[in-house]
Symmetry: C2
Subunit: 251 residues, 2 copies
């Protein structure tokens, strides 16, 4: 009504509001702890109160907002510990997925698809020493993780992992960009990729327990990246949603 009217025809107002609001929160346009006023969002997003309300509820379920006792929602602030445990939760669930995949056994075609994805990552990592653009790696990494989760063939688990990855810095590749300035970049990517290969081998050989352990440890790479980001503001800025993380010291 106020901004634009002739775009995004196919998108429902609710989805539009949800995307826009998430973007605002992750960009740090709204300060953590701050109340998110419906009416303000109405004029900021150009949709009416109903879809805004809907978006608020969904983002609260997603974990980006929290309900205020007296009503309404506020931007959630995350402590370092909360981020840490969120990563651990994701790793645990992905570990479970890997174990299930190994125990049930996966078809040849799925294994080949995963292997092909890993080959592509290999290629990117090899080039990576020269080029700094990580976007392709991030995308391929996300794809491999998705393939892995699909291998478990368990919608409820997939859903739960999606939940766990909703916190922006908890997802599989959210903290990868932190290493972009690091000389260790190639080292880290090499190790991560080796874990990818190992877990796939384990699944192929039906070694459930091993597959699980590898995926758990794999997620802990994010712990290291988090540690690094927390001590370096410049690295922090590379992470979407970093504004939501309470800094260690603020003096």
């Amino acid at each position: 009504m106020s901004i634009e009217k002739t775009s995004d025809r196919a998108l429902s107002q609710t989805v539009k509001a949800q995307l826009a609001l998430r973007e605002l929160v992750l960009r740090g346009a709204l300060n953590p702890g701050e109340r998110v006023s419906e009416l303000q969002m109405v004029e900021r997003l150009g949709v009416s109160r109903t879809p805004v309300r809907m978006a608020l509820v969904r983002l609260e379920e997603e974990g980006l907002l929290e309900a205020i006792p007296s009503g309404g929602f506020a931007v959630k602030a995350f402590s370092e510990k909360e981020v840490f445990i969120s990563i651990e939760i994701r790793g645990t669930l992905e570990g479970l997925a890997a174990r299930l995949a190994a125990e049930r056994g996966v078809g040849r075609s799925e294994l080949l698809e995963a292997a092909a994805c890993l080959d592509e990552i290999d290629e990117v990592v090899r080039r990576e020493m020269l080029e700094i653009d990580l976007s392709q790696y991030v995308e391929l990494n996300a794809r491999f993780h998705r393939i892995l989760i699909d291998m478990a063939d368990s919608p409820p688990l997939a859903r739960q992992i999606e939940r766990a990855s909703a916190l922006p810095f908890a997802s599989a590749s959210a903290l990868v960009p932190v290493q972009s300035r690091s000389p260790e970049l190639h080292h880290i990517l090499t190790v991560a990729q080796d874990q990818h290969r190992c877990v796939l081998t384990a699944i192929e050989r039906r070694e459930g327990s091993r597959a699980e352990a590898i995926m758990r440890e794999h997620a802990r790479i994010a712990h290291r990246n988090l540690e690094r980001a927390l001590t370096n503001q410049r690295d922090m800025d590379l992470v979407p949603g970093s504004a939501l993380i309470k800094r260690r010291i603020r003096a």
Copy 2:
């Protein structure tokens, strides 16, 4: 407006609708796969469309409903496998909680509270051989699990476990009543209680890995109960929400 007007003053319409709708779904008043019409619920619950809509969204996040592509929601039907994996997810997360509790170390007062809870359960189990009422056991069991989760001191993990336990038959004590007719009842409760004691000891001694393994195995008792319920309709009827589970054979 249609049914009653002078009750539940303190409850918001949204919460009222959510509770009533959940009750309807779990009782099996709505058939799995069936669309849940907003207007029908309006006249059935006595609140207007807005709170009903809100309740529908929340119950979908909870996992009891699923979105219909063309709009609206339908009652979700669960396959045997989905129930199985849901239990496994809960066990895995509770295992993580136990490990975290062990690794961080918990205070004396918390340990004592948990031990006191276990003593109460002991008493109930001892009596249980005569009396058939399991409600007290179910309540105490839930309390112990809650204490355990609190020991991890991780709100994000607690939240995720709550999510995983939202599916009625996935929660810690949903399938306990299945055993109420069984001569094995005392046996099962004894084993479960031993696991409770063991996990508490493990946490006390900071044996994280052991605590985790025990909690995982502990959850798998529910697998057995599920197995039993699936082969016996009479047992099945004791489980709230059993109407949502697709039976093995339906001929």
